[in-house]
Symmetry: C2
């Protein structure tokens, strides 16, 4: 590979001059500039990002910390970030936060060692204190995670409100005995959705029954377990609010196994609107999270943040996606 020195030799100028035309950091006489450009083309020159990083202190690299790898929602966000970063000159490097117990130890080590220019945190359970520490060292954007006093650097959506609206949708259709299958207990999104559920019931004058809430874990399997346990205990419900679409799939299957029709006998509403949901039988009514958009917004925000601008975060909202899994209570 040609180096900057090769270019300099060929164009009969110094390294410095080549660097100048490369970065437009200073005026260069026209003749020399052209000579340099010709030389670069002739030698198919491409600067070494590595060397630029070392000299310039910038690595043109952004660390992406994933935790819930395998979850359709966070994976979609990650894809949004990748494509959002394409063409910006920044390359995403991925770190799996799950791999090491302590985020502090390995993740931060690799990221700082690699001089990443910025950090994008996707969801996850990295302790807040660690994040705050990171944040002081690097431009950081968190996606799908709320952090106190951080509004301008968090891309998140209002899960509590969405939980409320999901439940309200069910209430509007006449349902009273609304069961909920919760997500991972410690997960803020999960608890916010549950809070919205509780608030909606309360607002409708319904006393939430603890029998109707099942502590799941965002997996489809937890959806079938929830339904089975309610059915076994004879608990009555006419609608289910699932913490996410995977859970809804599980619940839907369990109902099917017991000969319970959806939505005729029981309605289901999900959360996420993953690609498969539109093709469930029946197509799943769900709260659509704009995952890809969140990822893209995160990509845009981090580059702005690095550039010293204050990022402008788009208004992203969770929207009720009405399909066919919810019916009026007969």
């Amino acid at each position: 590979m040609a180096t900057i020195q090769d270019i300099a030799n060929r164009a009969n100028v110094s390294k410095s001059t080549v660097s100048r035309v490369l970065n437009k950091s200073s005026v260069v006489e026209n003749g020399k500039r052209e000579a340099v450009i010709r030389a670069m083309e002739a030698l198919d020159y491409r600067p070494s990002v590595i060397a630029q990083s070392l000299a310039g202190g910038k690595s043109m690299t952004i660390g992406i910390v994933t935790q819930n790898i395998g979850s359709p929602f966070t994976d979609t966000i990650a894809q949004g970030v990748i494509s959002g970063l394409a063409g910006t000159g920044y390359s995403p490097i991925f770190v799996d936060g799950q791999w090491q117990q302590s985020a502090e130890s390995e993740v931060i080590r690799t990221l700082l060692g690699r001089n990443v220019d910025g950090l994008v945190l996707i969801g996850g359970h990295i302790p807040t204190e660690d994040i705050n520490k990171l944040r002081t060292q690097l431009p950081t954007i968190a996606i799908a995670r709320e952090l106190d006093g951080w509004d301008s650097q968090c891309i998140h959506v209002d899960n509590e409100d969405a939980g409320f609206r999901a439940t309200k949708h069910l209430l509007d259709f006449g349902h009273r005995d609304i069961a909920m299958i919760c997500g991972i207990k410690e997960h803020p999104d999960a608890s916010n959705r549950f809070k919205g559920y509780s608030r909606a019931l309360a607002a409708a004058g319904i006393i939430p029954s603890s029998e109707l809430v099942y502590q799941g874990d965002f997996s489809a399997q937890s959806g079938v377990l929830a339904v089975n346990s309610w059915l076994a205990s004879g608990t009555h419900f006419s609608a289910i609010f699932a913490a996410n679409d995977m859970v809804a799939f599980g619940a839907r299957l369990a109902l099917h196994r017991h000969g319970i029709r959806v939505p005729d006998d029981v309605s289901i509403i999900g959360f996420d609107d993953q690609a498969e949901s539109a093709f469930m039988t029946p197509p799943l009514t769900t709260m659509r999270q704009p995952a890809a958009e969140m990822g893209a917004a995160g990509a845009a925000a981090i580059t702005q943040l690095i550039a010293g601008e204050s990022p402008e975060l788009p208004e992203l909202a969770i929207e009720l996606q009405i399909r066919e899994s919810v019916a009026r209570l007969r």
Copy 2:
């Protein structure tokens, strides 16, 4: 951040010595070694990967080229690579091949500019010639793609055989009018699956009817279109072989809309076994691709290749995952 020079000063040795204990590249007297180690701990030293890259020529970075971002299958492979690379010291950097038309132009530019030590190609349609060019420059592993004369660097599974077995499974259950919804025409996996389908029919003495094969594109939507078109034209079929699970979901929904039962009236077999498939109603019989394993194998292989060893590729097979969407023809 502490540099190697800081350590050297604190331990009263030279940079060279510090570098030696760091890489164990040469023997260092015990006393000094310990002094160095103490100094490193005291200063919380972490070497700059950037500087190491520049000096050593290695970047400890592996380029991952994705193309079909959004496809459950390739995404799962990518996740497998990420987690397979965790803890190896190599970091994956992602490039979205789709972004630029010509693979040559941008992708290769960024990758070479970043001095990646190796390349992992996931699926995709990068022209073979470009790949061959790349391959001469860098250790390269291709996942989910066959390339002539490259066996030791391709992690792929036998799609033709799997297509054969899927079709045979349907035949074994008494089906004769077996429809197929194909994937993207140009995609080798798609055409191999179709070849297997044709071969199985031929082996059973059935003349494949062109009306029974629908040219889809791996999307769920193409699944519904296929079914609708057959139904509209009055084409008879008792089983469907879908190019992947998404297509199967679409087909299943379309059948549902027409009141056709699965598997009682029509059987469906899919391909991939993505997470949702086990929770389709009814759970989908499908050809399971070991996507995560392929990704992990790719990660292992690329590190071996870089180390100069010849990679040992595990035997990965597509397995028939029998569930409930295929029934004996009544």
